[in-house]
């Protein structure tokens, strides 16, 4: 198989064509309203924001730092502006059921006016009603009434007394009541004298006394009813007076608010309540009790007087109380009191009729917050209930405010993992969040993108208030965006990284006293960031240069090759070579993955070793049995090994061990391999190549060194300038390989050799030598087995002779 040509410096880096950037600095560029390359998210947002049906709330998913929050806020603000501001909401006292405050909706901005009207009314009540009760008219009517009623009450007694007197019977007051006795000239007749009366006279007196007693009895028993009547008539008088006093102010308010039936109904309830409590207003010195007047206050829960368009609310601490509101309490002498004026609205109240943005992770970490939000979205109304009540921890009497109907579009922002976990584990989730807005990680890098990306950078720069960025600076940024995307045909969509880089470059430009941000400032920012994160990388390289970690970059060696791995620490990652070694001897067709045996290898690595093992068997053993006992190890690797990117290197080193053919140590190899020996793409190629380049440089020279990488990874290369210079000078080489044979030929300098129809490799080829060695292994194994069959002696003496 033909050895591929090493890549040129142009192939390992996709330059930004400067001629595509038609400006001097970003100052001349227009702002970009919406980010480029996020059409999917924008369409999802447009759909989600406009869709009226229930459950079409949005979940915006994407990695952190992708600028989700900024974009969604900007988009929703634009969308909300065209809509009308939603209603104001207020809680008022419920005169029928005092612990269930009523809710009233008013057109946006009218809540304040209503609140002021009611405060004015309360002020008027405070003075006007006592004045009514002070009035001469009221006092004289009250007196008339009392006199009339007193008269009626006493008239009965008086009539009985009169009747008794006219019949010569005295009605005598006793300590406990009354008694009747015959009298003469105003004095009760002595009982002795009475005995002298004739029987007829006695009978007459006694029957009259009896009759009077009955009448008196009836009369006394009517007194409570009379008293009740007095109370009722006084109350009716009070009501009448208060009605007259209230007629004017309440009438005006009724006329003013006639279009709002709820307000009119409330005003009527206030009038009835004032009338009912007329007596409480009578104290002209102290005025009516404050508690009574407080009932006519308005608790303006949601005031949209200054809201333009539909509200867009972002709740940065989405706990239960902040979302659904709460009922606060006043502490008075150690006792807690509350009333409807202490009901506080939450973010959902404020967002009602608009949009509510919440970070999904924060929402999920707050107790009951997620459940409460779902409850609101399912029921379409907000009930204010305290957390302790929801948990059933308290049972004290509290308010149960009427529920407020809610129409809110909730936009959750979170990473993808959260979305998928919620979809899987929460059965309600997909019912409530039907619109998924998935952020792109990368944008396509094509000819049209440069202008848009430059405008996006210009917008960011203005937003960050940095210096304008020069054309070369923008180009460098675009190239770095490709490097961040690890793809020559992509640009990263993570705007946090770009923003941070811009801020840092602005700082360096400032330090340098430059007017604009040039490519050098961008480069300095990149280098500085890399340097700040380089402590571990440098320690690791130092161990290699000092020979503590053994990596050979020159010469040849049997059963030893340089693999490449990538380490990710925090936000930075770097590549470094690892020595991979192999052993091979006759056996039963097994390849021991030492990493797996030591439980340091991950499942993907194990899978790669199994693939490698089957590749060996199918390619070299043909129809026969593969008689091999081999082992593979990452030398001086004390952490875990995962991934299949070393499978090309492992194959090469194992074949070297079998055939005892040395491999060039000036190369490092990366790439995964399938069972047919085809080389497949891997990740982190830029870091791996640069890692090996740095090790070679520290070992003395990069000349003649190189890296073998999958051909399909070439378009991911965005190597740094130093590496590119070495490539251009022909010192450092990168070979794109598509098949394991190419790797073998590059590493051994021998022809790999293709099998003929009978499966025989050409004489002198690498594969032929491997086949022959495996044949020898098979032979040795067979011999061992036949010796073993001979019995005890063979077992005792066996093994050493092979």
């Amino acid at each position: 198989m033909a050895i591929p040509a090493p890549l040129t410096s142009d192939q390992v880096y996709h330059r930004c064509p400067i001629e595509k950037l038609d400006f001097e600095t970003t100052e001349s560029l227009e702002d970009l309203e919406l980010p480029c390359g996020q059409e999917r998210v924008l369409r999802a947002l447009e759909f989600g924001a406009s869709m009226q049906a229930a459950g079409f709330n949005l979940f915006v998913l994407g990695p952190s730092g992708a600028g989700k929050h900024e974009l969604v806020k900007r988009f929703l603000a634009g969308h909300a502006a065209s809509r009308s501001a939603p209603s104001d909401w207020c809680y008022v006292f419920n005169f029928k059921v005092s612990d269930r405050p009523r809710v009233i909706a008013l057109p946006a901005g009218q809540g304040q006016s209503f609140r002021k009207d009611m405060a004015d009314l309360a002020d008027e009540l405070r003075t006007a009603i006592p004045a009514t009760f002070e009035s001469e008219e009221y006092q004289s009517r009250l007196q008339e009434l009392q006199e009339e009623m007193a008269k009626r009450q006493h008239q009965g007694l008086f009539d009985i007394q009169e009747e008794a007197n006219s019949n010569n019977i005295a009605m005598v007051t006793t300590p406990a009541g009354f008694t009747f006795a015959p009298m003469k000239e105003g004095e009760v007749i002595d009982p002795e004298e009475y005995k002298k009366f004739s029987d007829e006279e006695k009978e007459l007196v006694e029957s009259k006394v009896e009759e009077l007693q009955k009448k008196l009895q009836q009369n006394i028993q009517q007194i409570p009813r009379l008293r009740k009547e007095v109370r009722e008539r006084v109350h009716a008088l009070n009501e009448e007076m208060v009605q007259l006093t209230l007629g004017g102010p309440i009438g005006e308010l009724r006329a003013k608010w006639q279009d709002l039936p709820d307000v009119v109904e409330y005003l009527d309830a206030v009038r009835e309540d004032v009338v009912e409590h007329a007596e409480a207003f009578q104290d002209s010195d102290n005025g009516p009790p404050l508690g009574l007047l407080a009932r006519y206050k308005i608790n303006l829960l949601v005031d949209n007087s200054e809201t333009v368009g539909a509200p867009v609310i972002y709740e940065d601490l989405p706990n239960h109380q902040h979302l659904v509101g709460q009922i606060e309490h006043h502490a008075r002498q150690g006792t807690l009191y509350t009333d409807f004026t202490l009901i506080r609205g939450g973010a959902v109240h404020r967002a009602n009729g608009g949009y509510l943005m919440i970070d999904a992770r924060r929402l999920l970490t707050q107790p009951m917050a997620w459940e409460s939000l779902k409850r609101i979205l399912f029921s379409g109304e907000i009930r204010i209930e305290s957390l302790e009540r929801l948990y059933g921890l308290v049972s004290t009497v509290s308010l149960q405010p009427e529920a407020i109907p809610v129409s809110v579009k909730v936009v959750l922002l979170g990473d993808r993992m959260l979305y998928y976990l919620l979809s899987h584990y929460d059965q309600d989730f997909l019912d409530l969040f039907k619109v998924e807005a998935d952020f792109e990680d990368d944008l396509d890098r094509d000819d049209e993108c440069y202008d848009l990306y430059a405008r996006m950078i210009a917008t960011m720069a203005r937003h960050l208030k940095t210096r304008p960025i020069e054309r070369a600076g923008v180009a460098r940024l675009i190239e770095h965006a490709s490097r961040l995307a690890a793809d020559q045909k992509k640009l990263t969509a993570h705007d946090r990284v770009i923003r941070d880089l811009l801020s840092e470059a602005d700082h360096w430009a400032d330090q340098a006293g430059a007017e604009g941000i040039g490519a050098e400032h961008i480069q300095q920012a990149i280098d500085e960031r890399e340097y700040r994160a380089s402590r571990i990388r440098e320690r690791s390289r130092e161990q290699i240069s000092r020979g503590i970690v053994m990596i050979a970059t020159e010469g040849v060696q049997v059963a030893q090759v340089n693999g490449l791995s990538v380490l990710r620490i925090g936000a930075s990652m770097f590549g470094q070579p690892s020595r991979i070694t192999a052993t091979a001897r006759p056996g039963k067709g097994q390849v021991v993955d030492i990493e797996r045996e030591a439980k340091l290898g991950g499942p993907i690595h194990s899978k790669a070793v199994m693939i490698l093992s089957r590749f060996l068997a199918s390619r070299y053993a043909g129809d026969g049995e593969l008689s091999l006992s081999a082992s593979l190890a990452f030398e001086q690797s004390y952490g875990g090994v995962e991934g299949d990117s070393a499978s090309v290197a492992e194959t090469c080193v194992l074949l070297s061990a079998i055939a005892r053919i040395p491999l060039k140590q000036s190369f490092a190899v990366t790439g995964s391999m399938n069972q047919h020996g085809e080389v497949q793409a891997v990740g982190g190629v830029n870091e791996k190549i640069e890692g090996f380049f740095d090790v070679c440089k520290e070992a003395g020279s990069v000349k003649g060194r190189g890296v073998l990488l999958p051909a399909s990874n070439v378009e991911h290369l965005m190597l740094r300038e130093e590496v590119r210079t070495a490539i251009a000078a022909g010192d450092f080489s990168i070979y794109p390989i598509a098949d394991i044979a190419q790797a073998i030929e590059l590493l051994t300098g021998m022809e790999a050799g293709a099998a003929d129809e009978e499966g025989v490799y050409p004489e002198g080829s690498f594969n032929r030598m491997v086949s022959e060695r495996l044949a020898l292994f098979a032979e040795a194994s067979n011999k061992k087995e036949s010796n073993g069959d001979d019995g005890e002696g063979a077992r005792n003496g066996g093994g050493n002779g092979h």
Partner: protein
Amino acid sequence: MEAGMVTEQASGMPSGNPHGRVLVLLDGSRMSYVALKAAADIARRTGAEILGVFVEESNLLRSAGYGFAREVGAASGISRPFSTDKVEERMVRMADQARKALAEAMSGQGSRHGLSIARGRVIDEVLTLTAPDDILVLGRTGWSSGVGRPIGSTALGLIRRSPSRVLLWCERPVSDRNRIVVFLNDHEQANHRAMLAAAESARHLHQPVTVILPGDAGLTNERLERIKQDLDVLGAGTRLRQLTVCDPSTVARVLHEEKASELVMSRECSLFRKPGMEDLVASLNLPVTVTP
């Protein structure tokens, strides 16, 4: 027994009190005990002797002697048997209570006190005991308060007939009423007595006085001037109001406006003779002093 009288006298009580005595009518009703406190207060203030008067009403005792007699409860209207024995027992008990209450009210005071127990018609017995220099204190209602009578027949009889000053007591309202209101008329001596009584109350209660001159009092300018000069006797803050119309309802309003804590008037006052005056006194929830 009829019209008999027993006077118990506390030890060491000298006869002939230059200030006159304070007589308090004790009938066992709640209001009479409230009046006792007021009487004790006056006695303490003036150093006068206090005499409780308990009258066993002869009509009541006779009524109980009838076999068919029944007592109809003032509150419940329930009728139950009534006998002399029971009434006698009740009278003894109430006299005993009155004695104890009097002793208690006067405990720790130097004033002399005694209880007079008489049997006969209440008004007559009290009038027999009362001298012009005395002050007669009684509750506005006695037993009849049970049926809601605002003023009892005994009280009405005594304010009309007593030769002495009568203080018709009721519980003082707790609000901030703070003026003594006195009604004057064209009777100079009567005016003098009323003003004296008002001045005493004003001094005791540290309250200013409002003097009301009814329009129909027929005062000459000269007399009016003299009254104005005499106002100094009543102390600082004295106010004079002249009423063109003087009927019970106007008086009620004026008393309300003045925040009257006590009303003083002479029996000779024209207002006293107006129809409805009794109802006015009945409807006022404040102590009323009626001077001869």
